[in-house]
């Protein structure tokens, strides 16, 4: 016989115990450390930092550990923590033109000042299992694990400094190139951004700050209204779900959007973050962060006021996050439809659609809230459908059976 369901509190405590057990897994396998996650799962940490809107590799690693590797859950932990942090000010804008380059590629020029720098990328790996990684941990890294592979260079020195490694130990087990070979060509100190090169010729849509150069909107403090300005859009996409933006960017390429993009440039590396404390009045270096920047170059036929020129799609992400930065830049360009007087027919061109649905922490919360009880509402639906069916049966029973009309 029915007993009212009780004991929600005990059930919650029990589920916390079960989660702790599931997270630890087989106690016979050594526990993973936060430092191991930070160093060896750097790309996952970068994604958590992006979608959690907080640059802190240690916390991202902790979040991943606590969330059993569930990236959205980890981003949620970051967000819930981030919102409690005091804000002591805003940094100066970071200058990606001054980035200490780790990787820089352009699809629009074969060669360019500063050259193409392949850096660490999976692009040219064959996606074949490296079963050597299955073995017990070895002191040497795998052939794929060269220096600079993980996120966040520790020493913070310029890349040219690494040339000094040439004189050190020649034997580097597990590396494909003789030690020092890949560092033998020091990188150019000057690496102009490709859109700036186009801009010098007047071929690139200029990016002009709005009048008075106001502080960017902060969507974590203020509600968004529509139509949303570009600062809001870029901010929303920077914390938006990589998969969602990837799908939207892909839709633009497949014809659900009218743009024909070229990768003007992707650059990955470190930039320093500067802050001007009020009491000092000059900039203080707070340290450096790893960023990935993508600038897409798109065709634009021009309008009656604007001569034909290239237009920009911009993507910027924490850590080495190329897929995110590229997707973001595709959608950024699509969302400029209104500014260029293009018809906004497709999802990727509609700011309400993109901004409301790109936040995976919000989306996951709302989708998963369907797990909560809804029996009060369901009862209303049950009652209605039973009543309508009863009425229908009564009506059918009352009506004498008639043949279908000839006009059918």
């Amino acid at each position: 016989m029915y007993v009212a369901v009780k004991g929600g509190e005990a059930a919650i405590l029990a589920t916390h115990d079960l989660v702790a057990e599931a997270r630890r897994g087989d106690a016979g396998v050594p526990e993973i450390s936060v430092a191991q996650i930070r160093e060896q799962q750097g790309l996952a940490c970068a994604r958590v930092m992006n979608e959690g809107s907080l640059y802190d590799a240690d916390l991202a690693a902790l979040a991943l550990k606590q969330a059993q590797g569930d990236v959205i859950e980890a981003a949620f932990l970051m967000r819930a923590y981030r919102t409690t942090l005091p804000r002591f000010g805003s940094s100066e804008p970071v200058d990606t033109a001054q980035m200490a380059i780790r990787r820089r590629v352009s699809a629009t020029y074969k060669d360019l000042p500063g050259g193409q720098v392949l850096g660490p990328t999976y692009d040219y790996t064959h996606r074949l299992f490296d079963f050597a990684l299955m073995d017990e941990p070895r002191p040497a890294s795998s052939p794929l694990g060269g220096e600079g592979w993980g996120e966040g260079r520790q020493n913070g020195e310029g890349l040219t400094e690494t040339a000094s490694l040439l004189s050190s130990d020649p034997a580097a087990p597990g590396h494909l190139l003789p030690h020092g070979e890949k560092e033998s060509a020091p990188l150019d100190a000057h690496m102009p951004r490709v859109p700036d090169i186009l801009g010098a010729e007047g071929l690139m849509e200029p990016e002009i700050a709005p009048e008075g150069d106001p502080r960017p909107f902060d969507l974590t403090r203020e509600p968004v209204s529509f139509p949303a300005d570009r600062d809001v859009r870029l901010q929303a996409m920077a914390r938006g779900d990589e998969g969602f933006l990837l799908g939207l960017g892909y839709s633009v390429q497949r014809g659900f959007g009218g743009n024909h993009p070229f990768v003007g440039e992707i650059r990955v590396g470190e930039v320093s973050v500067e802050f001007i404390p009020e009491e000092l009045g000059f900039a203080v270096d707070l340290g450096e962060i790893t960023l990935t920047e993508c600038q897409m170059v798109n065709q634009f036929a021009g309008s009656k006021d604007v001569p034909p020129q290239f237009t920009r799609g911009y993507g910027l992400a924490f850590g080495h996050s190329e897929r995110k930065a590229m997707s973001m830049s595709l959608v950024d360009r699509a969302l400029k439809a209104r500014e260029f007087g293009e018809a906004a027919e497709y999802p990727a061109q509609q700011d309400e659609f993109v901004l409301y649905h790109s936040d995976n922490v919000e989306a996951a919360g709302f989708v998963e809230h369907l797990k909560l009880p809804h029996y009060v509402d369901f009862q209303g639906e049950l009652e209605l459908i039973r009543r309508i069916r009863r009425e229908r049966e009564a009506r059918l029973a009352a009506e004498p059976e008639t043949l279908p009309e000839a006009a059918e």
Partner: protein, 275 residues
């Protein structure tokens, strides 16, 4: 910031005030709007009650009550009459609320026009122009198709003759309780970043037509545990052959009635089983 939004909401009944909703340690869609509103108004002298589907002991209600007991160190209760603040999801308590009490609703989709018009830019315009024809057409189409208005919960209301408002997904059974309520009613939608309010003694009228007046759900059987009639009931499945019983959705009301000696048809069995 939230208090300012609340003041504006109270000043313009039924109007959705945008606010800078913060991340909460609970997931979006699990009551973050209600939590922010409650956190903004709660004080050391308050007594908090949290219900989900009318019940104090559903897991999410337990979780939210424990959260406030921990971070705000407030007294909590399951008794409607003792509470100064009641945070709710999907129900209004059966016991009449009184002056000085605040009912805080968790709201998933604050926009009553959302499923008729997905764009926020458009729906804001429609509210500004008091352009609610689309909603009436929807209700009319229901009648044309089903012979009645086929909305059973989140049934739209008009507040103080001006704004059409979503009462949150409470069953329409509860709509009449909102009208001229002595208690202050606050609505928080965290994910959608909107707050709205119905001040005490405000007109709240469920939309209908002259020849199709609004009506609430009626249950044929009384509560099987406490024998209550004229309350909202949950259906509980007893076996897999269609056997079922109806019990109070408002658990506090049901327990209170049983404490006062009311018995439903199955109350005896339930007590035996519980022993």
């Amino acid at each position: 910031m939230i208090r300012r939004a609340l003041l504006k909401a109270v000043a313009v009944p039924g109007y959705q005030v945008p606010f800078g909703s913060r991340e909460m340690p609970l997931a979006r869609g699990w009551g973050t709007g209600g939590i922010q509103v409650t956190a903004a108004i709660i004080g050391p002298a308050d007594t908090l009650k949290v219900i989900d589907q009318g019940a104090d002991d559903t897991t999410n209600a337990v979780s939210i009550r424990a959260f406030f007991a921990k971070v705000a160190e407030v007294a909590t209760t399951t008794h409607t009459a003792e509470a100064t603040i009641i945070q709710t999801r999907h129900r209004i308590p059966e016991a009449k609320l009184t002056e000085g009490q605040v009912l805080v609703y968790q709201v998933p989709i604050p926009e009553p026009l959302r499923f008729l018009e997905p764009r926020e830019t458009e729906t804001r315009k429609m509210h500004a122009l008091e352009e609610y024809g689309l909603m009436h057409v929807k209700l009319y189409e229901d009648i044309a198709r089903h012979g009645r208005i086929a909305t059973t919960y989140a049934y739209p209301v008009k507040v103080e003759g001006r704004y059409v408002m979503d009462p949150s997904p409470t069953p329409k059974f509860d709509n009449p309780k909102m009208h001229m309520s002595e208690a202050l009613q606050l609505f928080g939608a965290g994910r959608e970043k909107r707050i709205y309010a119905v001040p005490p003694y405000t007109e709240v009228v469920s939309l209908d037509f002259e020849d199709q007046p609004f009506e609430i759900q009626h249950f044929e059987d009384p509560c099987a545990l406490c024998g209550a009639e004229g309350v909202y009931l949950d259906e509980v499945i007893l076996d897999d052959h269609g056997g079922h019983m109806f019990v109070c959705s408002d658990t506090d009301n049901c327990e209170d009635r049983r404490a006062h000696g009311h018995r439903g048809t199955l109350a005896g069995h339930a007590l035996e089983a519980a022993e």
